[in-house]
């Protein structure tokens, strides 16, 4: 795709501000320049670092194979004149004055705004326990460095609270480092919210085969410290306890929308609602002209899933969506593009390369189409109402693109294939996703319904207001 200088109509005298200086913010900035926007461009980030890559933090960085500072993302030369305001969070947005308020009291004016504030790790709910020495979360580079150093000091046991992707990858890193590790998971199996019970059972077996002390349908009720404020024990809901000096809280991510609370935008727990072109809705479901959103913090309607709003926590989506948002920010209205990429992500854990395309949690049935579940080398196809909606590959990356095409074509489920490789005939089984009304910590793809604002609001015309 060569979009060099193609049709940017937003005037170079206009100021563009991007809130969020991670992957989505960076890719958006690069796209704005590539599209020919040469005007003032500001990136605001709450961390003191230039954009860096997060996926390695729970993998190669934790085992010490890659130093945390190596994750800094390369920046194209076109960003030489960008203003970086790092280490200061945005705390408010005034749409009328077109200003972003910063934590240090400054304001930054914009003509067009991109929201890319992403997510943060959900903290342990009890603050005093969360502050015990030895209790960690993992989201940023600093978190990864601290945890890596602690793991390198050979603790006698590591407790991972939550068996989602991050928790499972951390457990995998512990196993590689030869550390005894316990994983507690509230659901029936690790990754159950992301892959459904049928496949998650295989993940549970995989973890146990690698020596993980896996405790499912169990929660941690309290963390106990010693007199010096160091973690020494965790108490579980089944009445048992685990002696441990290190606990990693991996209870999923929270979207960074608090700073938008009084902005009048459709921003809440599940993210910032936008149209297919990344333009943000206000709380009356009216689309705004000058505010866009991309990355983990966005929720957007997807045609393949009945235009339900999707919220995704994947770096691939951050890149795709940021590119579309940036294009739409500066192009002529008629040249705007929709963000309709099929969601895709990967995870590596316990020697298995997991790749997913589509939205598994939209499915109610699943069938193994290639390979064998028992070998941890297979493709699982997910369907709903006779349509293929997702596929998950364990050590079968080469098939992912094929299934992606089928999903894009709304192919029938179970999938039929022509050619040399025929799937082993099997009957679909229940995908066994948890009740979507019960929150899970590990679903990184969330279907968030059809309501653009997801708030119960009543519109009161200004002249009727008393």
């Amino acid at each position: 795709m060569s979009s060099q200088g193609s049709g940017a109509v937003f005037p170079d005298s206009g100021r563009i501000v991007i809130v969020g200086a991670s992957l989505a913010g960076l890719r958006a900035a690069e796209t704005l320049r590539a599209e020919g926007f040469t005007g003032p461009l500001t990136l605001i980030g709450d961390e003191p670092y230039l954009p860096y890559d997060r996926p390695p933090l729970s993998k190669a960085v934790l085992t010490g194979w890659v130093p945390a500072e190596h994750t800094t993302l390369p920046r194209r030369e076109t960003l030489a004149d960008v203003e970086w305001r790092l280490g200061v969070a945005a705390v408010g947005l005034d749409l009328l004055a077109k200003q972003v308020r910063l934590a240090d009291g400054h304001t930054v004016a914009f003509d067009r705004l991109l929201i890319a504030t992403g997510t943060r790790a959900r903290p342990w709910p009890k603050q005093a326990e969360a502050e015990l020495e030895g209790v960690f979360t993992l989201r940023g580079r600093d978190d990864a460095q601290l945890l890596q150093q602690r793991l390198a000091a050979q603790p006698r046991r590591v407790l991972v609270i939550g068996g989602g992707f991050t928790g499972s990858e951390i457990a995998s890193a512990c196993c590689e480092l030869g550390l005894p590790v316990t994983v507690t998971e509230r659901g029936a199996a690790p990754l159950v919210g992301a892959l459904g019970g049928a496949i998650a059972e295989r993940v549970a077996l995989l973890q146990r085969q690698h020596g993980v002390d896996l405790r499912c349908q169990v929660t941690v009720t309290s963390l106990e410290g010693d007199a010096q404020g160091r973690l020494r024990r965790a108490h579980l809901s089944d009445g048992s306890s685990i002696d441990t000096e290190v606990a990693v809280v991996a209870l999923g991510a929270m979207r960074n929308t608090e700073w938008l609370r009084d902005s009048g935008l459709a921003a809440w727990t599940f993210g910032v609602g936008c149209d297919a072109g990344c333009r943000v809705f206000d709380i009356n479901a009216i689309v705004t002209d000058d505010v866009f959103v991309a990355g983990d913090v966005a929720r957007f309607p997807h045609p393949l899933y009945d235009y339900q709003f999707l919220a995704l926590e994947h770096s691939g989506n951050a890149v795709e969506q940021a590119t579309v948002a940036a294009h739409n920010m500066v192009c002529a209205p008629a040249d705007r593009r929709p963000h309709v990429a099929v969601p895709a992500f990967w995870s590596s854990q316990f020697g298995v390369n997991i790749k997913s395309v589509g939205v598994p949690s939209a499915a109610d049935e699943v069938v193994i189409t290639q390979g064998e579940l028992a070998d941890a080398s297979f493709v699982a196809a997910y369907g709903k109402a006779g349509q293929l909606v997702a596929a998950v590959a364990f050590n079968q990356a080469k098939w992912v693109e094929f299934y992606q095409r089928l999903i894009e074509q709304a192919a029938p489920f179970p999938p039929t294939m022509s050619g040399a490789v025929q799937p082993t005939p099997r009957s679909p089984v229940r995908a066994a996703f948890p009740d979507p009304m019960v929150p899970t910590y590990d679903a990184t793809v969330i279907l968030t319904g059809h309501d653009p604002t997801e708030r119960r609001v009543q519109w009161i015309p200004r002249h009727h207001a008393t």
Partner: protein, 92 residues
């Protein structure tokens, strides 16, 4: 059997560290990169690729060959100034 190595057009290489980014959604674990630059790219298990995004400068030649050899072109190498070296994909 001899086979022409994928080679790079000699670039006016700026000094300083190089950056590597692999699109892991695209990677299909052909593992060509692991042969050309084994200290930078490694398979974790059968097909999960781990890589050092900021490898030692001594690896630059190997990394460029690895990028050129990737059958699905998932590897992007960038110089410190943000430019991308020209990589010619030899007759492989």
């Amino acid at each position: 059997m001899t086979r022409a190595h994928p080679h790079m057009t000699p670039p006016a290489a700026p000094s300083g560290p190089i950056h590597v980014v692999v699109d892991l959604n695209r990677c299909q674990a052909y593992a060509q990169c692991c042969f050309f630059a084994p200290s930078v790219f490694t398979l974790h298990g059968e097909e999960a690729l781990w890589y050092d995004p900021a490898p030692d400068q001594a690896q630059r030649e190997h990394v460029l060959r690895a990028a050129a050899a990737c059958p699905v072109q998932a590897i992007v190498v960038q110089w410190p100034d943000g430019s991308e070296p020209q990589i010619s994909r030899g007759a492989v």
